[in-house]
């Protein structure tokens, strides 16, 4: 029987992660994500896993990457300022193809900002924060229950594609307490590995038809190198432009070619909608109320919500922009995914924006007013 419990978003993140096999967490205290570390510290030893509080944010992600190279499913969590600090090593994990989940419980920025206030100001940083072109997967939950389920999904995607996945939470969901039905089990995907590895086996060799290398964790006999430099199949650094291009193409395509597997969108009341509210994460809750109130008033409103933030849900959004008269983009920032919506719409419909950067929550009334605006 599924168990029903009262749980905070940050706690649900840890429980979902453990259900998916997370056995290592390295972190550093920062509001509003601290409970992710606290819950991990309590729960991991109970399941035979390890928690370590590192000396800083950079060490935390480095430590988690290290654990992952040894074959353990690992996570780190932070908020705005800490997410800035983690960016370099995030890029390392992207290039070296090391499965990892990075939780960012967003808070108001820039700088120290408003540490306890909601924000969605890290959306673009989650896509482009680390230097250089790189693939990324970013997922954003809108309820505590979803936080549990999607934390598990983050691990599965990280393992399947040997790719860091960013779980982009926000203060609204991180600190929210809701009743959650804990499923008896969740789907678990493990990274591709090799049986009986030998030192001769090039660790980064990718079989035709596959997107990622099947490599053994460190310590299992394969004896390969991992580097943050562009490297050959053995993991040894190279200056070859040809190998560099092949590697870049492959790591970008492993995400873009698997768009349908990775991108998830929630659409509500969209069948006959004339006005769509575009939102994600914690903002979704006010948006649903606004859409339902608009419907009660006879306005054909609908909700379009990307669950996967990056890659951007362009396939699903594009037909919507041709169907509706107007899209109201509601996000807790100065306009970030707004630009993506405009890029896809290409002027096909009117786009209104409601963004808040004062630390307060966008209310249903504010969204409703935008829906009603001519």
């Amino acid at each position: 029987m599924p168990k029903r419990v009262l749980m905070q978003g940050n706690e649900a993140c840890v429980e979902g992660a453990i259900a998916a096999g997370m056995r290592f967490f390295a972190g550093y205290p920062i509001t509003p994500s601290t409970e992710v570390a606290e819950s991990s510290a309590v729960r991991l030893p109970q399941v035979g896993g390890h928690f370590v509080q590192m000396e800083d944010e950079i060490a935390s992600i480095a430590c988690a990457i290290g654990a992952s190279t040894a074959g353990v499913k690992a996570m780190t969590a932070t908020s705005g300022p800490g997410f800035s600090l983690k960016q370099e090593n995030l890029g390392y994990a992207c290039l070296a193809e090391i499965p990892l989940v990075v939780v960012d419980v967003q808070r108001s920025g820039p700088s120290t900002g408003l540490p306890t206030s909601p924000s969605q100001g890290d959306v673009m940083m989650s896509r482009w924060g680390t230097h250089g072109d790189h693939p990324i997967i970013v997922i954003s939950p809108a309820s505590v229950k979803e936080t549990y389920e999607l934390a598990a999904r983050c691990f599965n995607l990280a393992e399947k594609y040997r790719q860091p996945v960013i779980f982009l939470m926000d203060e609204i969901i991180g600190h929210l307490r809701e009743g959650v039905e804990i499923p008896e089990s969740v789907e678990i995907i493990d990274r591709p590995t090799v049986e009986n590895p030998t030192p001769k086996l090039p660790a980064y060799h990718v079989e035709p038809g596959q997107y990622v290398p099947a490599m053994a964790p460190f310590g299992h006999g394969q004896r390969y190198n991992i580097s943050g430099l562009f490297s050959n199949e053995k993991g040894f650094p190279t200056n070859s432009n040809e190998i560099t291009d092949q590697k870049m193409q492959r790591i970008m395509h492993k995400i873009s070619d698997n768009y349908d597997d990775i991108v998830e969108v929630e659409q509500k009341y969209m069948d006959d909608a004339e006005v769509a509210v575009f939102c994600y994460g914690g903002t979704t809750r006010a948006a649903i109320t606004a859409v339902e109130e608009a419907r009660a008033k006879g306005i054909k409103a609908g909700l379009f919500r990307p669950v996967t933030i990056w890659p951007f849900a362009e396939k699903e959004l594009e037909p919507v922009t041709k169907k509706v008269k107007k899209i109201v983009v509601a996000e807790h920032n100065y306009g970030q995914l707004l630009y993506e919506v405009e890029r896809i719409a290409k002027g096909a419909c009117k786009i209104d924006f409601i963004g808040k950067v004062d630390g307060t929550i966008i209310t249903p009334d504010e969204i409703l007013a935008k829906i009603e605006e001519e």
Binding site: V52, M54, S60, I65, I226
Partner: protein, 288 residues
Amino acid sequence: MAKVNMEGVAPKTAQVSDLIWKYMRPENMPHIWCPGCGNGIILREVAQAVENLGIDRNKLMIVSGIGCSSRAAGYIDANTLHTTHGRAIAFATGIKIANPELEVIVLTGDGDASAIGGNHLIHACRRNIGLTVVVMNNSIYGMTGGQYSPTTPTGEFGTTAPYGNIDRDFDIAGLAIGAGATYAARGSVYHVPQTVKLIENGIKHKGFSIIDVADICPTYYGRKNKKGSAVNMMQWQKDNSVTVEKAKNMTEEELKGKLVIGLLKEESYPEYTEEYQKIIDRFAKGAK
């Protein structure tokens, strides 16, 4: 406290060529280091220590950061992780906790370990986690072309200290001892047998160990400071080194400009991963 006898040390010494074929990845040679660089000697010192201890290479984990020193990892036929600048110890911490069976050795430089990575160094010392850190300490940023580092002596020159370095220099081994390292030693590229023994004992030591190895960089540090050739720089190490034992009877004045070689500290303290295992044993479901 185990003492290293620095007089007449004669550990088992394999032929260098045997070590190359056994522990290196010849397909990745030639290495990138300049003629006269001491890094190859330190690489050999590490390989010799591993050979003497008979460590299974499948369980040997080499972690490095960024800089000339850190290219060493790729040349060693083991599990090797070439990480980001300054972060090798933090990556290594994750690996050691995730799989304590691995023998984890961190190869790093003076800038990597004590400037950009200084925070990780002191906290690894404090945690007493079972890593062995070998510092290739050449007192300069070599990879980027000769900028002064935290171990460039005051008054000396680098491309970013064109008028002489006004910073005070770090004693990395001393810093580690101050931060709680339970094993700290200093070797050099001249004192090969002694340094091999110090690394060997560092690997055997339960908990965190650091071997600060005085390295030579004739290309940048040597040239900027008129230290002569690689041979001259090694001659300097020979002429200006004193053993820890001898240094104990010398005054601060007498020790000025001297390289103190040997075991600086060794003490027993619970190791981090073993302590964490006790928590797991107590709180894991089904545990008594």
